[in-house]
């Protein structure tokens, strides 16, 4: 029973059940579309939470990696005729290599300086995607061929729902395993105090680099899948505000809570869909929600809820 309540088994099981049963209650393709977007954002946020929530390193530039993954897939499959899966893997590897090169200098920075460094990185990526119009189509964006593996083409919301759901489940499982491993403990030590971690023998630089690369690769995979699913991408995927959206999902759901990230992604993806009805008030309400959650629930939704439940049961 206890094992069932642990996040690694119980939580994962609950997530699997939700993913499996959700299609039964989703009335039409509009809702499937929202669910897919939730899943894609959740994949990115689970990775980002490893970086922000566990290792304590903020990034305001992860949409840059998301955008690079998306464009890598779009260019390699569309312009060069590569197989989709190869494009996805090569894109993710390239983004991982870029993150590896950037990690050392950037992660030396702390706090606001790190925020600015990653922000600058993301903005530069987005400007390059906007300006290299010959390659990327510029601000108008570019079409992306359908996802194809060995002659089978992923088409339609229902198919994509299972692809994204499955990927999310695997990502979550890997992330949960990672944080329960020595690596996860090292990351938390770094979060607590970098110098103290160093003193007890944690190679802080190596672990920070590792988690930065993992989060960048997940963002790239999310971007690739998004590109194939939506069939059309624009440089706005790599924009500063998209980075902010990811970070907000992580913090809203709860830092250092993997399932919190999924919840955060769900809320912040679903909310604008319904706020669209309010049209003129959309931006205003989104800003107000971000501010008030952070002011009143600084730990994020899921950890705050868990605490509330624990206090009730005592």
């Amino acid at each position: 029973m206890r094992a069932l309540l642990a996040p690694r088994t119980g939580g994962l099981l609950a997530l699997a059940i939700v993913i499996a049963l959700l299609p039964a209650v989703l009335p039409n393709n509009f809702y499937f579309n929202v669910a897919i977007l939730v899943g894609l954002n959740a994949i990115v946020c689970v990775g980002l939470n490893l970086l922000i929530g566990y290792a304590g390193q903020i990034s305001l530039g992860h949409a840059g990696f998301f955008g690079l993954g998306a464009y890598a897939s779009a260019l390699l499959t569309g312009s060069y005729g590569w197989p989709s899966l190869a494009a996805l893997v090569v894109g993710a590897a390239a983004v991982g290599a870029l993150a590896f090169l950037l990690a050392r200098p950037i992660l030396k920075l702390k706090g606001h300086y790190l925020a600015m460094g990653t922000l600058g990185m993301g903005v530069i990526i987005s400007i390059v995607l906007n300006q290299e119009a010959g390659l990327t189509g510029g601000p108008d964006g570019m079409p992306v061929p359908a996802f194809e593996v060995w002659g089978w083409t992923a088409y339609g919301e229902r198919t994509w729902y299972w692809i994204v759901g499955g990927t999310l489940l695997v990502t979550t499982w890997l992330a949960l395993n990672l944080i329960e491993s020595p690596i996860g403990r090292a990351l938390r030590a770094i979060h607590g105090s970098e110098i103290a971690a160093e003193v007890i023998g944690v190679k802080t630089e190596r672990f920070k680099t590792l988690v930065f690369v993992i989060s960048a690769v997940l963002a790239s995979v999310g971007g690739s899948m998004f590109a194939h699913y939506s069939g059309f991408i624009t440089p706005s995927e790599a924009e500063f505000f998209h980075s902010i959206a990811f970070v907000t999902m992580v913090v809203l759901g709860g830092m250092a809570s993997i399932f919190g990230s999924i919840l955060g992604a769900a809320i912040l993806t679903v909310l604008p869909q319904f706020l669209a009805v309010l049209h003129d008030y959309e931006t205003l309400v989104l800003g107000a929600v971000m501010m008030s959650v952070m002011i009143f629930l600084p730990k994020g939704l899921l950890p705050s809820l868990a605490e509330l439940l624990r206090r009730r049961s005592l």
Binding site: I52, I58, L60, P105, K108, L109, K110, G111, H112, Y113, A115, M116, G117, L119, G120, M121, V123, I124, I127, V128, Q131, S193, E194, I195, A196, F240, I244, V247, T248, V251, M255, D280, Y281, E282, T283, L284, V285, L286, G287, A288, V289, M290, M291, M294, I295, P298
Partner: protein
């Protein structure tokens, strides 16, 4: 000096002065609260937009400007009071998100109260360019740079002579010690938000006749101002001014000689270069982490 170079220099200094003012706001707020206020750019927008709409409603320009600055100051104060103060002690990420939320909120409010269109504001004293060695100098550029110089000078006097300015400096230097000698550090926090908002609004009003103004104008201006503050060393107001000019001039030169498409990237490339070579900024103090 070729007239072309002079032209780029003039436009670089003009925008640079705006970045400097925005960066100044970042530094003032950071000093009294250790908060990076990502909504700083929105005050630039509020200054410009409020002036345009007050003038459209029939207010004479000086009155419209005064009211617009006042509006920004009130909103800045409210932001400190209702969003930052209740969240004191929260992790840096949470506070960053609060201020980003505030900037989105303010932008949304501006689109609602005013509109989403581009607006032109008339120049303060005509728009006939003055010829300087073959380069054209807009009278408004003189206003922008002059305004910046006056504000910087006034701030110098404020921080070195006024009692309350000294109290703000003391809070920046050591909040606990400041509190012990009877300075209301909470009051200083609110004051710094109001002051930074006012300066941002003035920057927005000064530059609006040159660049046009709209609800989203604060995004890039805010980020560039932030770059200015970081280049100069966070929390060093004069550094922010120097940083603003560096970013503005580099941007104008890039646009002129290399590629106008990549001019927006320049500020961020400078940032990355400065952060990697001198992580505490050109004029910042080195800080060491306490365990």
């Amino acid at each position: 000096m070729s007239s072309q170079f002079l032209q780029f220099l003039i436009s670089g200094i003009t925008v640079g002065a705006t970045y400097a003012l925005v960066g100044l706001g970042f530094s003032i707020v950071y000093n009294s609260s250790q908060v990076i206020n990502f909504a700083q750019g929105e005050f630039v927008m509020i200054g410009g937009m409020a002036t345009v709409f007050l003038m459209a409603a029939g207010a004479p320009m000086p009155l419209a400007i005064a009211l617009a600055v006042l509006l920004a100051v009130v909103i800045g104060f409210a932001l400190g009071k209702f969003a930052i103060e209740p969240a004191r002690g929260a992790p840096v990420v949470s506070i960053i998100i609060i201020t980003i939320g505030a900037s989105i909120f303010l932008r949304g409010a501006a689109m609602l109260v005013w509109d989403r269109n581009l607006h032109h504001m008339p120049a303060f004293s005509g728009s006939d360019p003055i010829d300087i060695g073959g380069a054209a100098l807009l009278p408004q550029s003189v206003w922008v740079v002059g305004g910046m110089v006056i504000i910087v000078a006034a701030l110098q006097v404020f921080f070195s002579h006024a009692r309350i300015g000294k109290a703000m400096l003391a809070t920046a230097f050591n909040p606990l010690a400041a509190q012990l000698v009877g300075i209301s550090t909470r009051g200083m926090l609110l004051l710094s938000f109001a002051l930074a908002a006012g300066i941002g609004a003035i920057a927005g009003i000064l530059i609006a006749p040159i660049t046009l103004t709209y609800a989203g104008v604060g995004i890039m201006l805010g980020l560039k101002g932030f770059s200015a503050a970081i280049v100069g060393g966070l929390g060093n107001p004069m550094g922010a001014v120097a940083g603003g000019l560096v970013v503005g001039i580099a941007e104008a030169m890039t646009a002129g000689y290399i590629s106008s498409a990549y001019k927006d990237a320049v500020a961020f490339l400078i940032i990355l270069a400065v952060l990697l070579i001198r992580p505490s900024g050109l004029f910042g103090r080195r800080e060491s982490e306490r365990v």
